[in-house]
Structures are given as C-alpha cells and as structure tokens.
C-alpha cells in the first residue's frame, strides 16, 4: 500500500500562518491603494496622451498582488532549498526592541517642543539608560559632550540650522 496516496492533504502544512497574515494585510493595503487610484483626478486629453495617471500604479498593484498571493505557500519552495523563512521570526520581538521603538517615537513627537539640542540630549540619555548602561562617569561625559560636539560640528562648522526649543526659550 502506498501510504502517500491515501494520506489526506494537510492544509495547515501547506500554508504558513504568519505569511497568511502578511498576505491578508498586504491585500488590504493593495485594495485601499487600488480604490485610491480610482479617485485620481482625470487629466485633460491634451496632457494624458492616452496614458492616464492611474495606469502605471494599477499595473504595479496587479503585479504585486500576484506575487503576494504566492507568499503563504512560498515556505514549501524555500524548504526544498533548505531555507527556513521562519528562522528570523521564530522568537517574538523582544520587549527591549518594542520599547526602543516607542521611546524613539515619543522623543521624535516631543522634538519640536524640546528643540534640537535637548532632543539630542534626551536620546543620548534615555536610550543608554534604558539599555542598562549604568557607568555613571561614561554616561555623563557622553550625554554632555556628544551632543555638544555634534552641535559644534554641524551648526558651527557645516552651518546646519538647529531648530530652537525649550532650552533656548529658558535661556532667553
């Protein structure tokens, strides 16, 4: 008896769940963009030359969609070539990374209020401390001298304009 012949097809093994989620997300994005192309203004024939503005993006979206549909099954092809698409994502994203993302987003959100110099100081202080760099002397030197040397190099030597903020407001 050939066991393989009678074995039922396991759909779960055919489809990679993570890639299925990615595919669904990408299909949603592609759909939104497709409908957006339908809302592009119509150019006059004089400019359009029979090449409407939506034509090229729509072709791209169709080609991308075609490839996206392969993604859930791609792991089967990769396995044959001894590649594991899940090797990089087996472990969940570490909390340190997620919090780093959040921390930097918050600092960027407040950067207009803080101004360039305080933003740099905030980055140089917050990230190393969060990453458990506790050597006080090193940290203090770093927090003070790194932003200062950046300001000196970019502002005074290269003439890059630094947006004023809270620090300049207090000093003035």
């Amino acid at each position: 008896m050939d066991k393989n012949k009678s074995a039922p097809i396991n759909l779960g093994a055919l489809i990679n769940k993570t890639d299925l989620i990615i595919t669904i997300v990408l299909i949603i994005i592609i759909s939104v963009l497709w409908f957006e192309t339908k809302n592009f203004e119509k150019a006059s024939d004089l400019f359009a030359n029979n090449i409407p503005a939506e034509m090229f993006p729509q072709i791209l979206l169709i080609v991308i969609l075609g490839m996206v549909l392969v993604l859930p099954f791609e792991h089967l092809l990769l396995k044959k070539n001894k590649k594991d698409i899940d090797s990089n994502r087996k472990k969940s994203i570490p909390n340190t990374t997620l919090f780093t993302m959040l921390l930097l987003t918050v600092i960027v959100a407040f950067s207009e209020i803080l101004g360039a110099i305080l933003t740099m100081i905030a980055i140089c202080a917050a990230l190393p401390i969060y990453w458990k760099e506790y050597r006080a002397k090193v940290l203090i030197l770093y927090i003070i001298f790194f932003p200062l040397s950046v300001v000196f190099l970019f502002n005074f030597v290269l003439g890059v304009y630094f947006e004023p903020g809270l620090l300049e407001y207090i000093l003035n």
Binding site: L78, N88, V108, W131, F154
Partner: protein, 490 residues
Amino acid sequence: MEDVVKGLGLLLEFENIILILGGVLIGVLVGALPGLSSPMAIALLIPFTISLEPVAAISMMAALYCAGTFGGSITAILINAPGAPPAVATALDGYPMAKNGEPGRALGLAAVASVLGGIFSLIVFIFAAPLLASVALEFGPAEYFGLAIFALSMLASMSGISSIRNLISGLTGVLLGTIGIHLTTGVERFTFNIGELEEGISFVPVLIGLFAVSELFKQSEKLNNVVERIHAKALKLPTWKELKKLKYTILRSSGIGTFIGILPAEGSTVAAIMGYNEARRWSKNKELFGKGSPEGIVGPEAANNAAAGGAMVPTLALGIPGSGSTALILAALIMHGFRPGPYLISETPEFVYAIFGAMLIANFGFLFIGLVGAKFFSLIAFIPRKLLWPAVFVFSLIGSYSFSSSMFDVWIMLAAGLLGYFMDRHGFGAAPLVMGLILGKLVEESFSQSMIIYDNNFLSFFESPIVILFFVLTFFSLSSPFWSKLFFKK
C-alpha cells in the same frame, strides 16, 4: 585623454583629497563596526554633502564605498564578526589564521588583495563604462524600459532569503516612487491630501530610515553580545614571493568580482562567496581551507572589492545601480542635478573620470590607513553598542531633518525605520526597495513615453531586438532558480 586629465584636475584640489581621505576613514570605521554598513554611512552622508561641489560629494561617497568593503574584513579577521556582509567569506580563513598567531599577516593579505581587486575593476570600469554608455546612447524609451525591467528582475537574485519577497520589495519601491504629482498629467497620486507628499517622498529620510534606524532596532535585540578579540599589533604586508603564489587566485577573483558587480543588483557579498568557492575549487591545498588558508583570504577579498568597482559601471553608464550602495550614490547624483546614464559620460566625462580617480585614491588610502591603524581598528569593534547606536540615531535625526528642514521627513525616517525592521524580520529586503524607489522614475517615464510612441500597443515593444533581448534576459533572470538547479545537477 583630455577628459581624464580634466577629471583628475577636478579631483586633485586639496579640499577634495581631504574629503576623499575622510570618506576612506569613515568607510573603514563603519565597515569595521559590526552593524554599521557602507550603505548606512552613505545614506547618512547624503544630506550633509548636498551643499558640496558634486565632484567632492560623489567622490567622498565612492571612496567610502570602496573602503567600507575592506573595513568589514578587519573585524571578520580579528573577532570573527564580519563588519559588513561582503566580509563573511573572509572570516572563514581570516579568523583561523589570526587565531594561529598571524593576525597581521591575515590583515595584510586582505588589504593587498582588496587593493588589487579594486584596481582591476577600475581598469575594467574605465574601458567598459564609456563603451556601455556609447551603446546605451542608441537606446530609446522602449529599450530603457526593457533595461529597467531587466534590472528589476535581477532583484530576485539579490542576496536574501526569498526571490519573491525581493521582487515585492522592489516593486513596492517603484510604487512609492509614484507618490506625488504625476509629471506628465499634473495629477496628484497617493498624496491623501497631505501637502508634503505633493512633491513625492524624499529619498534621504527613506534611505536613512531603512538602513540606519531599522538596524538600530535590530541591534537593540543583541546589546549584550560578547566577542573574543585577537590583538593585532601591525598589518604585515605579504612578501613578493607569497603574492606570486597567489596571483592566479587574485586575478580570478578580481575577474569574478568585477563581472558580478557589473550585473545590476548583484552585490559584493555574492562576489565574495563566489570568489571564495572558486579559490577553493582551484586550490592545490584544499585541506587548508577553513584553517587559515591565504587563498581563502585573498579570494573573497579581491572579489568583493572588485565588485565595488564593477557596480559603478552600470550605475554611471546606464543609470542602473549595481548594488545597494551604488543605488544610494545614484540617488545622490540625482539630488546633485545629474542625470545618471549614457549622457553623464558623453556630456561630463571629466566628472566620471574624477570619480574613477577618487576610487583609485581610496584603494591606496585604505591600504595606508590599514598599515598605520591596524592596532586602532582592532579596538573600534569594542565601542559600546549602548553608546554607539544612540549616536547613530542622532545623526539619522539631523540628517533627515536638515535636508529640507521638515519634521515630516523625520517622521518618514522613523516610519521607514520601523518598516525596514519588520520587512527584514519577514524576509523582505530593504536594498531592493531602495533600488525600486530609485529606478521607479526611469521605469514609469520610459513606459509612458514608449506607450505614447507605440500608440498604446503593448506588442510594439517586441519590434525592437534590444527590447526582446532584455525581455529574454528578464525571463532567464526570473526563472534562474529553476534552470540553475538543472544546470548544476548535471
């Protein structure tokens, strides 16, 4: 000849030489620091060099690109942690040789092979680029469309886990390039009523986000990695006798590297691995490989540096980037108001020769820096990551903001960083996206112009033999995973 002299004249100004040497130093530093890479450094450099003369700015980036490839081998040899992906193969024999008590010799072999590989590819560059450009001058929009499609298809074979994901990334880049006002019709596309998007997405924040910020997030996963270091007191140059023994390996690898580099989208990493494999295949001492074989060091090193020069050929002659780093150099050229491609060589040949000269100086520059700074470079890999990465973010912030003094660009940079992190996690490469973004304009323009010429008849593309050739090459490129298997099985 006159153009060569003019080009060298442009280059040999004091300020330019200092900038080139500065580029070499930065290149060796970022190459040697695991996590930092040449594309990242070039991306960070673009906004600060935009106010410089084009020759100075592009020469500095080209020098950084050459030196960065060599820099990666320093940490590959001394701490078995390749500073950059092209140095992966160098670690296989470089680290064992260093462990056997000859770190200086390993570094010396790597440096000399890199210089020779680089010079070989530059000689090819100086002949091949004008030749390729003269052929490309005959190209019309349809031929350019065929060429751009072929270049995009080559993204499939770019290093990474999956061809399909590379292609999706590349096409997403092309799609991102369509954001803003359509030049032909004046219609706004994908702007979602955001005023800042009307002019399209700026290259700079996207490049910085994808290459620098996403790497920061990746590095935050491994902040406490401990590495074992081997002390290198000085770089020891190989003897003439030793070089004579290795000449065929260096020559072969230089040829392989240059050829791989010239292919659109194929980078130094592929070249280095092929250089290593071929060195092993042709070696009379195969048993020494993996234990500190000199051929195992010079093979990949000559190849990866030759690929750097080779990649500049399609970049400057056709406007098609040969690698991730050259895609960034291409972006910089566009920002400086140049139109990369055959016209760059026919109209401003002296500019191209100046870049050639900069790369030549860079090759000797990193040999010199390696000779005097081996001891120092063996230490830089130990700069605490907890202090290094906040500094990278500060530079990213300044770079993306200062380019057009816009907070919107900073948010784009952060979004690109997050996107790059998640893309990498799921096997989608950042480099194909950047190449797509840069090629996007060429693809759409040539497509639209061809459609106007052909009166919307797709089949007319097949009237040009050059277009057919590019389509056939595209087919072979996309189907390479299947036919290469058949070929290698036999």
